[in-house]
Symmetry: D2
Subunit: 368 residues, 4 copies
């Protein structure tokens, strides 16, 4: 594969360019017998959609998901699910001026060096638009996880220099503001910071946190396929992500062992912990508590500030990027982070079913 | 696979438990025609070996690598390389007291929940000893990369609360102190902090930085197999790693676009940049500049401080971990980080050769 | 993956049911820089299309291929190629009577046992219609191989009890009759045999032979990924194939070593052979001569003869299959065999480029 | 991977050359909790061992299997099983004369063209000795299948021009003669044919049939990972195999549909069939009846008859192969065929557990 295939047992393959006729995803390995509708997918796609807040791109894409295969009478059949999303609002003319110029912070130069050819319209395959397919695939994974009592929820904990205050953390707030921040005051501050950046033609980054709840102990494979490792890959494969951390993350490096270790105790026969510095993962395997990780997003590279750059013709250039860009991509990325986390969890949940011969016998109805 | 296989074209499969008779690695996909000796591997293994500093475990393992296949007359033949490392200094009796008790911060509980059975001697498969096999595989990858002019070098930038001062950064220093810190004063401070932790029976974590130089532009596949994504997975699969970041990393989230974007210019016809906030990767593909990333390691969970924990028997317990443990694992992990980075680079370098049909024709001798 | 993904570096993922809105294929790993048009794909699809001979299904599908991504200005970009084929002539009502009855020789019973649910319209995913996607993918692989001077050509060597007479073998004839038989008299005899079967409401099988010419020596990986092994898998994954053989095949088992071994000699410095009993493959690796294999197809299971079978309701039944079926599937399968062979060759050709470090250095421009 | 890795969830990786210090296999993905001893593996290895019949190589290898990891207190732990087999009776001097000469029917020429270097001692990696590792891996797969009530049994149905008479078929006979033929008279005839070949310094081939019993309906994935397709690949990856067929195989191509279709009926509520022309597989998925296939083996290419061939030096040569070779490899290959079949079945059995969401809920204890 050349990078557009993801997963081992629960898999997705995505395709499509920003300004081609459509983009899409094929999901193979979703178990049969699960109720699934286009609404299940549309719900998540709508959360990623551009054009519905002053802080996002004005590109007006309905992002309507169409299921072309794999569902019969509203139920998955075990065969591949093909989902197509048409590109409706393409204005390729906006990009004609960047044909021969490499935008700073973008993949223009590296694609040209790798392939010798590049669809320069809207970033082509390297466009953030590609993440819509991840969201569609992730929505199917979420449907599967919901059947098993597992939930995946992300929110914004920092925008630019503004961070959420943990003492004011209120999950319900995240649904009430366009930045998905679980702290109203932090949101207001972040909104002001973003407005200022927009005035300058500049952009901001931020940090997203994600919590996976309800997973059974034992999810994750040892050594190279640790749950932490596969989440890291999944999240760092999202455009603009520059960092990933689990639980206490980079702070853990500054703690002592006695402080960082999560001490355990029994409560009504169930193992509990006083802290969750590990983010719910030990030796790469989930222990049944909340799985917690964070992703750092760089500021959107497309800005209207004038920048030095180079042309494909060997000349130095200056460039102000035109087009319809998000000054702050983070809020739209929240559901993308959830999607990638859900895909990893679905895949490793299937894999985890195979770890013990008593599981296999249970399925096959063999007496112990 | 259940997690012990890594890579697509340049692959490794590792096996072995901490207190079994041996551990080992099979490398499949290393191209034929490359000079390779046991010394090439031993050199890296010696850097990871325990027992040669006051800050590491006293377990006296020679970690002698034996190549059992894949080399003929000192040259690789293209067939799998099997490398075995015997376990010499096993004292399994040290672990008999943790048989039924779950050590905090370890994988004891999660392995038991996943598999229903666990080799409790020295952590079994979840032991840091497993990383010796990664180092052996990584040494072969490094040999391959060296042939192509690519180098991989890591060093310690933080131990506990002590960080390297970038203004005193001196790469040569990293070879001269047992912590591999490129700043002598930081090392001295870190050594004092470590001594204090040892006195308390406690442990420290830290941060390792790694630089890959000499890679051609175009390495890395788009979307899910981005160089950044595969490095993140590789690094986060190392025991004790809790965070990963590329270039400016988490700091990038606090910058504005105009500050974070790496502006480009031509110098003697070559593309250069004023900054490297991206860490050498755009859209998941290397641009030919230095690739830079960091990994956060938590403090060693095995400490002699008394901790609350639970037994497999349903009872609450307190535990002081005995045995021969490293109060600071970071220095020994430096070569493990290099190994994983080298394996990713070797794999994606092979993959990258297939990206353009003109490459294929060059190899096959087909006229354009 | 659950079976709809094929290949390692040059890969396809297919999706779609016989009576859904569309079917399709995503090709990932096709190198950039290759001219590709919808006509390249349509040409092969037209050879598989139903409805254009008295011996095939009357289903009138135009099978028009639409490329949705991966091509820019008529050239591949290295990103995934998504190809869609709409299902136009669906008459699902034809299948309503087989909803609860398991057709003999079909996958109805096994799908129900595996998934507990089944799209019974036209066989759903188990329909031969799925092979159109293989042909589309194979056409792209063929385009790639043509660039490298490799051709893949199949033809029919037996229909029912009629076999081609090797002494009358005439490749050009295969283009001139609807059975693709390279022997005119054999075709006439086979046509008569088929007419008789049609009169009885019965069906016939046959044997297809395929020759791959122009491949360089060295294609194929040792041990499990032998060229012969991957061809066997590819061909035996086609519906209705019950046997596969290379070169002398089952006849080789009856020969002595001195008779079966292909003796070699030099002619103008080039290695030649007196025979090709091995079918061009030794130790799983092509030697540069023609690669030759054959596939046995069972007769179409859908027949209008009354047969004993069972219902999902636990009752014994008799069934005459209605609908629009091919009394002889073999001629339409010729291009499917070519497609699968081309896909294997494209994938192993890419892989083969990585076998020797001198190849890698050639691509990367590293001096020896 | 470069061909030495096999399987998706139940996987093996093999390594080693004929005349290196050892060969071995790493099995990853075998579920935890299964009793396993070295005797389980030795039993199968002994059936493949050379040197114990007048018809096999005189190389005296004990082929003693040593388990180095993955088993604790006699039970699998879910971590990789590493099995090593030492090469004891190496006489590399026997091969010094074939260093620069390409043996007809062998992989000498193709390996040289692929890799540019070759371990010529005993065929190196292309030696039949490599199959010992498959047998060791297959023995673990068999252990797993036995737990689930599945058996895999092969026997010889043809040697040279002598075939078993189905009317005299007696499975118990296969254990009583060195050719594993289930027909005593056929064995006697085959033995005489083999003696005659030995007198001439020549060799024979043959056909092996394999029956897999007790598999549940539903094993096998649609489209590319059909049980038939993966068996075909597995079997055709064995050295010397030139053909593979399922059920009626090549004969099915000569039947009419009404004759070839397996009609079904209920007997005490269980689905039965009058025939098994499909070999137990429909649409690539097992129906619960016996799975039956056959493999054609070419005669051993190493013969003492003088043959024309070429040297690496560009000169024509004649060659009589010395060394210790099997005039008839088929009997030793019986257990290799079983091993590969067992590996495919183990892998697809695991995969099959994931096909339906009700299976997953059963394992995870989620209420429907």
């Amino acid at each position: 594969m050349s990078g557009s295939h993801f997963g081992k047992n629960f898999t997705i393959t995505t395709w499509g360019e920003s300004h081609g006729p459509a983009i899409g995803v094929v999901i193979d390995g979703c178990p049969a017998g699960m109720a699934l509708s286009e609404e299940d997918i549309q719900r998540d796609l709508d959360r990623r959609r551009p054009g519905h807040s002053p802080y996002t791109s004005k590109r007006g894409e309905p992002d309507a998901a169409v299921i072309l295969s794999g569902v019969f009478d509203g139920v998955t059949t075990g065969t591949p699910l093909s989902i197509r999303i048409n590109n409706v609002d393409r204005r390729s003319v906006d990009y004609s001026d960047v044909d021969g110029v490499y935008r700073p912070g973008h993949a223009d130069y590296t694609y040209d060096r790798k392939y010798g050819i590049r669809d320069y319209r809207g970033g082509g395959r390297s466009s953030g638009r590609e993440t819509a397919c991840r969201v569609a695939g992730g929505a199917v994974a979420r449907r599967f996880l919901t059947e098993l009592g597992v939930s995946v929820q992300a929110y914004t904990v920092a925008v630019g220099k503004t961070s959420v205050d943990r003492s004011r953390f209120d999950q319900s707030q995240a649904m009430l503001n366009p930045f998905c921040m679980p702290d109203r005051r932090a949101y207001e501050c972040a909104a002001a910071e973003t407005e200022a950046a927009i005035q300058d033609g500049d952009s901001l980054g931020g940090v997203i946190e994600c919590v996976i709840s309800g997973a059974r102990p034992g999810i994750g494979e040892p050594v190279f396929d640790k749950l932490s490792a596969l989440l890291a890959r999944a999240i760092c494969s999202i455009n603009a992500v520059k960092g990933f951390e689990m639980g206490a993350g980079f702070n853990a490096a500054r703690m002592k062992g006695a402080e960082n270790n999560d001490e355990m105790y029994y409560e009504n026969g169930v193992v509990k912990k006083w802290t969750n510095n590990a983010g719910g993962i030990y030796g790469g395997i989930a222990d049944g508590s909340d799985i917690v990780f964070r992703a750092a997003f760089k500021p959107t590279p497309s800005i209207s500030v004038s920048q030095n750059t180079v042309g494909a013709d060997g000349e130095n250039r200056t460039l102000r990027v035109k087009g319809r860009h998000d000054p702050l991509i983070v809020p739209r990325a929240v559901v993308v982070v959830e999607a990638m986390a859900a895909l990893v969890m679905a895949d490793l949940t299937l894999q985890g079913c195979l770890s013990n011969i008593s599981n296999i016998k249970k399925i096959l109805g063999v007496a112990k």
